[in-house]
């Protein structure tokens, strides 16, 4: 067996990817084969969280998932959080709070925040810090990121918007 074919659901669409190398990561598949460049390739060792995506509803580092492990699974990337018309409230909050500097960490932080707010209505700062501990911002813009998370929490709680993945 050499070069695999993989089928999975990505952002609600059934995808078939051909000629996948056995040691290839899900991140490579997303970025280089499907053109989904939201998840960023930064550390490739699970340290930075920039490639965070949902795999079967759980936030994971796409760089540490072998492509073959995604066979038959459901993947949601940052691109899948918004609809055609408007940004998701978490994305909107990052924009409004100025929580984006170079932007490299932003997609991962948005997915991690989306996951956090699907489990906690108004998380404490300690809870936010623990749940986002795996997402590094090399611009060190953490204060604005915390502002954005609180803002998103308020928006979602106020609007009663349920988050589901």
């Amino acid at each position: 067996m050499s070069a695999m074919r993989i089928g999975c659901t990505i952002n609600g669409r059934r995808e078939e990817i051909h000629d996948v190398w056995e040691g290839e990561s899900l991140l490579f598949v997303l970025r280089e084969r499907l053109g989904l460049r939201g998840a960023k390739n930064a550390c490739e060792q699970g340290e930075c969280g920039s490639c965070t995506v949902y795999l079967d509803g759980l936030p994971v580092c796409a760089c540490l998932v072998a492509a073959g492990q995604a066979e038959g699974r459901t993947v949601v990337t940052v691109e899948g959080l918004s609809d055609e018309v408007s940004l998701h409230p978490v994305q909107q909050a990052f924009l409004e709070a100025g929580a984006v500097q170079c932007g490299f960490c932003t997609p991962g932080l948005i997915v991690a925040t989306h996951d956090l707010l699907s489990h906690a209505v108004r998380p404490s700062d300690a809870e936010i810090r623990e749940r986002l501990a795996g997402n590094l911002c090399r611009c060190t813009g953490y204060e604005k990121i915390l502002v954005a998370v609180r803002r998103a929490a308020d928006a979602l709680a106020g609007a009663g918007v349920p988050i589901d993945t």
Binding site: M1, S2, M4, W21, E22, G23, S25, E44, Q45, G46, E47, G49, T52, L58, P59, V60, C61, C63, L64, V65, A66, G68, Q69, E71, A112, D115, E130, R131, A133, G134, N135
Partner: protein, 288 residues
């Protein structure tokens, strides 16, 4: 490279027998890093993520059998009451993303001296269940680690589960690193008290070629507690006893100087952690 994806445990064992150099893969938090950085090109990857037997938790007669692919996130959410020491250690593993993927089975397979799961498994006298097409065997945890990143597995064997007793007393875990999250231990320590078995358990991480128990420290404290009848009348421990225990824990390590810390720092940190962990555990015990 081949990508082997067995659906059942017998299929997995057959695949490992046929491809003894295949590298088992579950959470990928170690294996994928090596692939991404071109440090390793195995002949085959053996993805065990489809083997449902490995994701099971079973309970029997006061013991818990935790399948090799149970993640740290599940240990925290499902087993914190039964295995508090391991759950504490699991909370210090990486980040939420890593804890959703990483497994204790993988930690055992990698056998890093810094693996966070190892000290609580040592302190709890856990047993590692391994299997091959030839059959299965149980390896006591303190015989499982054979060297830096080496373990007692034969080439055709896979880790099925670990088995450990449901906690019968307080368990503690301490870890020193540069921050609370995303840190490989500079050094770590687990301490467990088992008033029913009259046992004191210890496990040292990241301060020797392998994770190891502090056997003399355990024996010393058990003798002290026994001779003063403290299991039945848990009075505060003498400072001298705590200090002696901590000194024996630090003395059981054989640390080295490396990028994360010096040998002297590690010994000092173990002394401090042993003092604190014993106080915390003993205070817990006195309150119960």
């Amino acid at each position: 490279m081949e990508f082997l994806q067995p659906r059942t445990w017998p299929e997995a064992l057959a695949a490992k027998a046929e491809h003894p150099t295949a590298v088992p893969l579950v959470g990928g938090t170690d294996v994928m890093v090596e692939l991404n950085f071109d440090r390793r090109r195995p002949d085959a990857l053996l993805d065990l993520g489809r083997v449902s037997e490995l994701a099971e938790v079973e309970r029997e007669d006061g013991f818990v059998r935790v399948g090799a692919s149970v993640t740290y996130a599940r240990i925290i959410s499902e087993l914190a009451g039964e295995l508090p020491g391991l759950a504490l250690a699991s909370r210090t593993v990486g980040s939420p993303q890593i804890r959703h993927r990483g497994t204790v089975g993988g930690n055992l397979g990698s056998a890093s001296p810094a693996g966070d799961a190892h000290p609580p498994l040592l302190a709890g006298d856990a047993v590692v269940e391994v299997a091959s097409v030839r059959g299965s065997r149980r390896i006591p945890i303190d015989e499982f680690f054979t060297g830096v990143k080496r373990n007692a597995l034969e080439p055709d064997e896979l880790i099925a589960a670990f088995v450990t007793r449901v906690a019968r007393g307080p368990q503690q875990f301490c870890k020193v690193g540069t921050r609370n999250a995303m840190v490989i231990a500079v050094t770590s320590l687990a301490v467990g008290l088992d008033p029913v078995g009259r046992r004191v358990g210890t496990g040292i991480g990241s301060a020797a070629p392998t994770p190891r128990r502090a056997v003399e420290a355990e024996a010393f404290l058990e003798a002290e507690i026994d001779s003063h009848g403290l299991w039945d009348r848990p009075e505060p421990l003498d400072d001298a006893v705590v200090a002696r225990f901590a000194g024996l824990v630090a003395g059981a390590a054989s640390p080295i100087d490396d990028v994360r810390g010096t040998a002297a720092y590690r010994r000092h940190a173990l002394d401090v952690m042993a003092t604190r962990a014993l106080h915390w555990a003993w205070d817990d015990y006195r309150r119960t």
